[in-house]
Subunit: 177 residues, 2 copies
């Protein structure tokens, strides 16, 4: 950040009075520009003993597999965002969405939230940001080609929890070096 | 937003190619400025049959009661943010933090995340953003003077769940008119 989005003046990095963190503060109008973590919201679409994955058609992690997910938008709920991303990336509908994993990734200032749901009608196809969309059993999952740690961790939890049929919400922190 | 924070040129509201939402896009360098929901992270500090509330010394909702919480900062986990806010607002330490409620408030583009924890040492006092900090039993809680719907909903869940001793994660959407 170089300029104030309010008045166009230059900004400087400083700790505002009463604050504990460095912020971009406008040299002119003194607006403090806060930058906060972003939420990635997505779904774990389930069909029998299989889950739906998307092969990424965009960077980062082009060509690797992921659950349908993306940046949560303003004025939507976590569940609405998860359903929207599933529609956009996999042209798929999920019902009965239930919160399943909440993963903090402080190195990139993100929180990934996945909701588990039932794939409706077994209907799906690749959206603009996907190369392919496919259903996988646990044994078929391309474990070495999963795009993000939060996705891999969510899939691991799911197949572990299937053994008991109990699916508590899992909270995980992922620390990259 | 009036100016580009990258180059200082004017921005216009438009839907970028391949996008579905209106964004502020720079007329000069074409940077797209995304604005996404913010996370409020906080704790539900528990001591026996009582919970810790803070009386707000700042707007909005000056003088009303809340759980210690605030905007999650970059480069921290949800739990670290909850512990930090509890220290800042109530000079209190919480242990064994467990995810407890996730509340979407789309009207203000926020997601409130509360973690339940044990108040360590029964030690607390008002931080800079609090007028008072106090422990309350269910009967003592000033239900009509709670600052935020997500806080009231979290407290209601907690005292309900106490009856069974089981504390599942609750996902709630709050829609203001």
């Amino acid at each position: 950040m170089n300029f104030c989005s309010e008045c166009g003046d230059k900004v400087s990095l400083k700790i505002p009075e009463g604050d504990t963190h460095l912020r971009h503060v406008c040299d002119g109008c003194e607006t403090i520009h806060y930058v906060n973590p972003k939420i990635i919201t997505g779904s774990l679409p389930i069909s029998g003993d299989r889950v739906l994955l998307c092969k990424r058609a965009i960077e980062p992690r082009y060509g690797l597999w992921t659950l349908p997910a993306g940046f949560m938008e303003n004025e939507e709920t976590v569940a609405e965002g998860a359903a929207r991303e599933t529609q956009e990336e996999a042209h798929a509908e999920v019902s009965d969405l239930q919160l399943y994993t909440v993963t903090s990734v402080p190195s990139v200032s993100q929180v990934h939230v996945f909701m588990k749901g039932d794939l409706v009608d077994d209907s799906y196809s690749a959206g603009e940001e996907s190369l392919e969309v496919e259903l996988f059993t646990e044994d078929e999952i391309p474990w070495d080609d999963i795009a993000f740690s939060a996705v891999k961790s969510t899939l691991k939890h799911y197949f572990e929890d299937r053994k008991t049929g109990v699916f508590p919400v899992h909270t995980t922190d992922i620390r990259h070096r």
